[in-house]
């Protein structure tokens, strides 16, 4: 009796496990294309957001990093977009940065992923904060608590200085990446 019930236990659990694994592999097959399309869509939107007037995007790999070169209708390179990640207040933050390499300037930035506190750190995705970086020259930025009075200043979000500083650091390290890959920096 004891032996039988043990057998029954194992058979039951194994059966449920196998059925569950089978069903889930179908679900995985079915949803993966959609999930990948969503991610590609999100990335494309972010690239278009950070590079103005781009009609064609080329993916290139340099120094082991991926860059997206954006070209306008005449085939001129407008700029380069790329992602940079780093630690935030609650978790990893992923930023898409669009730069003008001819003038060593940032066009715009966009936040791809983050886990910051809703209502506080999550405001890094807001226009108000992101526009801090619009047309800023490359370099090291100062995070300040008042409206910026000169170049290279970034106004922190009230109550979320850490998130603001994290994004700034992620952007700075990203700029190092792009200048070393494209040999810029002059």
């Amino acid at each position: 009796m004891e032996k039988n019930s043990k057998k029954a236990m194992i058979i039951t659990l194994a059966t449920i496990g196998i059925i569950s694994a089978l069903l889930l592999s179908f679900v995985y097959e079915w949803t993966t294309p959609y999930i990948q399309a969503n991610q590609a869509q999100k990335q494309k939107q972010a690239i278009n957001e950070v590079l103005p007037g781009v009609v064609e995007v080329k993916k290139v790999e340099k120094n082991g990093n991926i860059f997206y070169e954006g070209y306008d209708a005449n085939g001129n390179r407008v700029g380069v977009a790329f992602t940079s990640t780093g630690g935030g207040y609650n978790g990893v933050i992923e930023v898409m940065i669009g730069v003008n390499l001819e003038q060593n300037q940032i066009y715009k930035i966009s936040i791809l992923n983050h886990q910051e506190t809703p209502g506080l750190g999550a405001r890094i995705t807001g226009k108000e904060f992101k526009s801090n970086f619009n047309n800023q020259p490359f370099g090291n930025y100062n995070v300040v608590k008042t409206p910026p009075s000169k170049e290279m200043q970034v106004q922190a979000i009230a109550g979320a200085t850490i998130s603001s500083e994290s994004v700034t650091e992620i952007i700075e390290s990203g700029l190092d990446k792009v200048t070393s890959a494209y040999g810029g920096g002059n």
Binding site: G17, Y89, T161, I162
Partner: protein, 196 residues
């Protein structure tokens, strides 16, 4: 040395800044249910910390060497919950055989731990944050210490509250939740401690 500092910072931030109960909302059920007395709360915290540290190690190994190696991400939730359930069972049997005293103190809490969402939450956060093996174990241990800290503090407050004059409708759960809210506000004060 650099690495050691990183690990230490991770530990402190897991215990205080990103406290599992008060900031991440993981493990609320035992936090409300087993926080009437400091002594039982401490035992619960101890048992949870123990299981959390083991879970962090076990799920990191499984995720890295089985799920990622064989490209089976869709089995993540199913396998994590099985690992946790078996781990809890194993710990229970082990303690029962080796230390009857410890078993008496922790025994009744162990089955409760399987459905403590802090444990599964921990297992899920590790791959999400991309921690190394050592960082995962420290993260698990820190999460347990933070859990213990919050639940013991709450139990201390509730013991005092027994003598307080709480309006009838707020007795029990409501007042516990409100106190938790005030504790969460106090813990927000730690947020400037470290910038990761």
């Amino acid at each position: 040395m650099e690495e050691f500092t990183q690990i230490l910072l991770l530990f402190i931030s897991t215990v205080l800044i990103n406290n599992f109960i008060l900031v991440r909302f993981l493990g609320i059920c035992p936090f409300l249910g087993v926080s009437k007395q400091v002594e039982t709360a401490f035992s619960m915290g101890l048992a949870t910390t123990f299981v959390m540290t083991l879970t962090a190690a076990a799920t990191w190994l499984i995720n890295t060497f089985i799920l990622e190696a064989l490209n089976l991400p869709f089995l993540q939730y199913v396998s994590f919950i099985i690992v946790i359930a078996s781990l809890v069972q194993f710990v229970e049997m082990f303690i029962k055989k080796t230390s009857p005293v410890l078993y008496k103190a922790l025994g009744i809490f162990l089955p409760l731990i399987t459905t403590n969402c802090a444990i599964l939450g921990l297992a899920l956060l590790i791959p999400l944050n991309g921690y190394s093996f050592i960082a995962s174990v420290v993260f698990g241990f820190g999460a347990g210490v933070g859990f213990t800290l919050a639940i013991v503090l709450m139990a201390g407050l509730r013991e005092k509250l027994e003598f307080g004059d709480v309006p009838g409708v707020l007795k029990g759960v409501p007042v516990t939740l409100i106190i938790a809210g005030i504790m969460a506000m106090a813990f927000m004060g730690f947020s400037g401690l470290i910038s990761m």
